[in-house]
Assembly symmetry: C2
Homo-oligomer: 273 residues x 2
């Protein structure tokens, strides 16, 4: 199955656009897990077990696993083992390097860890992206308009009357021969999201910025989805996984995740049914 087909299937099956971001910071997970041999992995397994019927994707922020040191490789492997096969897995590493180096990143992410998709930084151009898309089986989400304050430093620079990020989108559309490129668009930019969806009606959009970063849910659903109310993957990390630090943390995470999923679906009904 193609990436798009897998995505649509799981969004339908779990009736969900929600992606949970496993930005698992050892300093923030419940103290009661610290006695475990691998607290990060234990935390992830419990969050996944509690939420796997509510999501279309899990996104692993690679920085938090690298920062944990030597457990990194195994924690990522075993976390992916705990995720049901039908759910999309995204390696959020924002890699980008010359061709022969990008090959190495793609190799560990797709061939070894077996993620379905990866986030990629476009600044170095086509040869830095090509290793992530060439097989056709995996999806590369290009950073376009990010949710952070620094997105204003370069992404909006005016290039021939249009912001830089629109030039990234135009190239992405051109490079999308195998229909396996997606875009990262922060929910903190609703007006831009509206325009971007008209530029790429059929591309999957990975949308961070709801939750801790306070993006608006209604406009994210209304403008981020395709015409069928699909193909938006809305990521929430901290607001769900750190909803509680008590022993009921996974139940609390489920509760918050369910609430987000349902809110998303209310707006899908409002705009797409």
């Amino acid at each position: 199955m193609t990436f798009l087909k897998i995505l649509k299937t799981v969004q339908k099956k779990n009736d969900s656009l929600l992606c949970i971001g496993l930005d698992t910071d050892i300093a923030k997970i419940p103290v009661l897990l610290r006695k475990h041999k691998n607290p990060q992995l234990e935390f992830n397994k419990r969050i996944i077990e509690a939420t796997k019927d509510l999501v279309c994707a899990y996104k692993l922020n690679l920085a938090f696993y690298e920062a944990a040191g030597k457990s990194c490789y195994e924690t990522i492997h075993k976390t992916l083992d705990a995720i049901p096969n039908n759910i999309i897995t995204i390696a959020d590493g924002k890699r980008g390097d010359i061709g022969n180096t990008a090959e190495q990143y793609a190799k560990i992410i797709f061939d070894d860890w077996k993620f379905d998709a990866a986030t990629v930084n476009p600044y170095m151009g086509y040869d830095s992206i090509e290793p992530f898309i060439k097989s056709g089986k995996h999806c590369a989400f290009l950073l376009v308009l990010t949710s952070n304050a620094g997105s204003k430093d370069f992404q909006y620079l005016d290039v021939k009357g249009r912001p830089l990020y629109e030039h990234v989108i135009a190239k992405a559309a051109k490079w999308n021969k195998l229909k396996n490129i997606g875009l990262v668009i922060g929910a903190t930019h609703p007006n831009e999201l509206k325009r971007i969806r008209t530029m790429v009606p059929d591309m999957p959009l990975l949308i961070p910025g709801i939750g801790t970063q306070k993006g608006d849910i209604e406009s994210t659903i209304r403008y981020g989805c395709d015409k069928n109310g699909e193909l938006a993957i809305i990521n929430i990390s901290r607001a769900i996984i750190y909803a509680s630090s008590d022993k009921n943390f996974s139940e609390k995470a489920r509760e918050v995740a369910l609430n987000y999923r349902n809110q998303f679906n209310q707006y899908r009904e409002k705009y797409f049914m």
Copy 2:
């Protein structure tokens, strides 16, 4: 000592602008090393032992260590242990993410592995860079104009009459309050390098693209150095470390490294003495 002071000291002591890039690919290192428990580490130790009096820096391309899987964390640690303290170490990972995530990358690179410097992708703006520069002790080399073919896709886009990469330089100069930002400029762009050096007379420039990528040595020295013939860090990876795959590979690497160092120094004499 500040990063700039350490750099100038080692460039003087070893009379060298050469940085050797440890892009250590398990598939490319001599077959005779495969019997070792950790062939990547063994290779690095031998290359370092053979060349450490000839360089100002070693640059580790993180992708090649990640791709090796679970040995990554330890190989990087022990490779750094094998590098004399006075030589600059650069983590070439080209990271770039929102502030709380960039903190995690800076933590493993600087606090745990103890690199002196890191390459950083500027696309996400200031908050993605700040964790790499805030202590003042470490240097962040921002990607500006890279050596690869894809550098033409976005880096030259015209923004108010100047290429995008010059806007990155202008921001970098503004953010450089602690004098610990450097720039990555590919040797494959000599005319641009000339102009860039006039824009940032006192910044260290990390210059890849000599060797396998065929950048021109004379113009790299002439335009990449500051007015004293210093502050250019010229990286060569494959052309040195894979100079031979026989058992004398480290001697051969030394020979090639020495040759590059001496060529660099001939042009330094020509233009700066």
